[in-house]
Amino acid sequence: MTLFLVITAVVTLLAAVAAMSLRNLVHSALMLAVSFSGIAAIYLQLNAEFVGFTEILVYVGAIAILIVMAILLTRSGETPEHSVLTSGWLAGIAVTALLFTLLGWAVLSSSALPAAPAAPPRVTVRDIGLELMTQYVLPLEIVGLVLTVAMIGAVVIACKEAAPAPAVSPAAKTSRPPTPAGHPAAPVPAPAGAFKKAGAA
């Protein structure tokens, strides 16, 4: 537990707080990037160099940029004048407090945590590649599939729809988002990944 680790952690947390509380969305996204970088630094200090670099590549390089793109595409670049908090935000804060209290207490009072840190492991990319290709080859393939599906799905969802056909069945009146032309019966990929992931955390 070096000082550097502590400082990095603090920076990360502050950036996270800023990301969640700034009014301007673009600022918020940039702060998110800073937070991600901080986490990458923490990874580097924990001898998980590959994960750290992967973090910067994926999160900072892709996801943060993606978020900025989305902000710009939904015309939310300007600072809003009205309140940025949703109705019932106090209940949310309460739940959060409760959650943190529980987690913190669990961590601090647990007796199952190993006490003595082991020697730092030496991880080479070669080892990672070997593991991936032998033991974890199935998840690897599946992840590939998932990524493919996600990509296609994202494209389908975000595609601009054509003019709606007049003889389409009244089922189009349901509250589903309008399907693009050419795929009238294609079901919208139901699991909005964000919600599902939040529930499974």
């Binding site: 680790l5 502590v6 990360t12 947390l13 990301a19 969640m20 509380s21 969305l25 998110l32 937070s35 991600f36 986490i39 923490i42 990874y43 924990l46 998980a48 994960v51 973090e55 999160y59 892709a62 996801i63 978020i67 989305a70 939904t74 939310s76 309140s83 940025v84 949703t86 949310g92 804060i93 739940v95 959060t96 943190f100 987690l103 961590v107 601090l108 945590l113 190993p114 840190p117 082991a118 492991p121 991880v123 080892d127 990672i128 593991e131 991936l132 974890y136 998840p139 992840v143 990524l147 599906v149 996600a150 494209v155 969802i157 990944g193 964000a194 599902k196 992931k197 939040a198 955390a201």
Partner: protein, 103 residues
């Protein structure tokens, strides 16, 4: 406090911050931002346990985190696509106004 506990606490705090943002902010994209933070905190948790756990040479936590990152990316892509689609349909990205599922 040993390093493991510290890392776990940081992860917990990061998770709470992300959760607070997800349930408090009005803009849909900021909810996704919060979710990304929560995912990151989980990854951090995993790496901390891999580093200070009994068998770091098995690379279990490591590989887990790799996959988690991949999936997080996929999920962020799809989620943002959804936000754009909703924005196009309802001309707003305010989550308070998206309540067609109200029962």
């Amino acid at each position: 406090m040993n390093p493991l506990q510290f890392c776990l606490l940081v992860s917990a705090l990061l998770f709470s911050i992300g959760f607070a943002g997800a349930v408090t902010r009005r803009h849909a994209i900021l909810v996704l931002v919060g979710i990304e933070l929560m995912l990151n905190s989980a990854n951090l948790n995993l790496i901390a346990f891999w580093r200070f756990g009994p068998h770091p040479e098995a690379l279990t936590g490591f590989i887990f985190v790799l996959f988690s990152m991949a999936l997080a990316a996929a999920e962020a892509a799809v989620g943002l696509a959804l936000v754009i689609a909703i924005y196009r349909h309802k001309k707003t990205s305010n989550l308070d106004e998206v309540k067609e599922l109200k029962g």
